[in-house]
Symmetry: C2
Subunit: 127 residues, 2 copies
């Protein structure tokens, strides 16, 4: 319940309280406890951590490029991803791990090769 607030220094918290309470008397838009509670509700919802994970997964130039390529081509193997984005194979493996962990892409093994395609959630991110 106090996770967010605990990240503020106590001096700033004490200074912030009366300042905003005074503001509510003049400007009806400022309301400290209301916004703090609303922010906590949003941050503690089920969708927020998932969405944050997905957004952070595509917040990289190479990974956003991979997602766009998958949207156009449907399915790519790891070597094709490596050729497309121009990094070492260890980096490709790392990026695809981030994308799969976020639920943006889904991996499929076929012999030596690993194929990747977008999940429905991944497709929704690009609409």
């Amino acid at each position: 319940m106090l996770i967010i607030v605990d990240m503020m220094s106590t001096s700033e918290l004490e200074a912030l309280g009366p300042r905003l309470e005074r503001l509510t008397g003049e400007e009806t838009t400022c309301c400290l406890p209301e916004y703090r509670a609303l922010a906590e509700r949003i941050a503690r919802s089920q969708r927020f951590p998932e969405l944050l994970l997905q957004v952070r997964a595509i917040a990289d130039e190479k990974r956003l490029l991979v997602v766009h390529l998958l949207k156009r081509r449907g399915e790519l193997c790891a070597c094709e991803v490596q050729a497309a984005i121009g990094v070492g194979h260890a980096t490709v493996s790392h990026h695809m791990r981030v994308l799969t962990a976020a639920g943006v892409v889904r991996a499929r093994r076929e012999g030596k090769w690993a194929y990747y395609r977008l999940t429905p959630a991944g497709r929704r991110l690009l609409s």
Copy 2:
């Protein structure tokens, strides 16, 4: 034309070429120059850098929270944002700067106060 490829070591490039050329003879899905060219077209399009900037702007817990709050409340001043996300005012200023630079939110000054609201592009990011 060689920006992406130059990020690979020459040894890996030389090893990758013949490997994929052989693959194209067996698996029709592997095609090195085609994917490299497609990736370059996407990365050099007008929308890609803008989208990357916007996605990176909301790829932070606090900033994603701010964007959600703005979607619900319409407009917030800086002190309300500070109260909601629980960081120092310098950090709030930094986050709002990142969001405005990406075109996700728009700032409006009224006397001492700074009000922020989502841009159409920012609203589109959350749909």
